[in-house]
Symmetry: C2
DNA sequence: AAAACATATGAATATGTATTTATATGTTTG
DNA sequence: CAAACATATAAATACATATTCATATGTTTT
């Protein structure tokens, strides 16, 4: 039996994850951190975003445990913390542009 | 080489898809139509939503080609039209609840 | 301990969007 | 062709949220 419909509660949980992935700025941050752990400053500079904006988005991603930060000296390096989401993002990026 | 970061344009496209998946009501509709093609009325009744609301959401999903409708007599049956998204949704539903 | 640095937080604002209510469109059956 | 039916659209509203600007927190150097 392949398609078992998730409960409303599980669906809500998933929707919350997708909602967070659904903002272009956040998604850019995630893809950038998918390649390697990145400091907040690096993210801001590389993606041409204000430090504040990056920090705000990271907070949301942290709150959903999509991302985790490790301090190294002065900087905090963020990386993706959910394997399924990481894999799914890589897969989606790989298949984008395919006409169904 | 596994992780190739998508272009900003592709990232925006993906974000738009995720944004649409990021609403609980829409996601419930999608999971319901993932099991089998469903008429608008069936969706509304089964998920306890107004016909108007269902129609509005279906319009957005149609606009992004995530869903496609086929008319059969009086009713229009909607089904998912993107294989990758369908597979990804099934996979996500399967792995939800796992503590990474 | 003070200064410098990197990151986080708060308030304000502007824009987006989900839902409802009312009505329209279009297909089908009598 | 008219009546009935299923779906779609429009306008209004209430709420969420992305971004900016200003400032705070906390860690690390000197």
């Amino acid at each position: 039996m392949r398609p078992a419909m998730p409960s409303d509660s599980d669906t809500a949980t998933l929707a919350e994850t997708f909602r967070l992935l659904g903002d272009p700025t956040r998604l850019r941050i995630l893809f950038f951190c998918l390649e390697a752990p990145r400091s907040v400053g690096d993210i801001a500079e590389s993606l041409q975003l204000s430090q504040s904006l990056v920090s705000h988005h990271l907070r949301l991603l942290r709150g959903a445990r999509l991302v985790r930060g490790n301090r190294l000296a002065k900087q905090i390096f963020y990386e993706l913390s959910d394997r399924h989401v990481s894999g799914m993002l890589a897969d989606m990026a790989h298949h984008v542009n395919e006409e169904n």
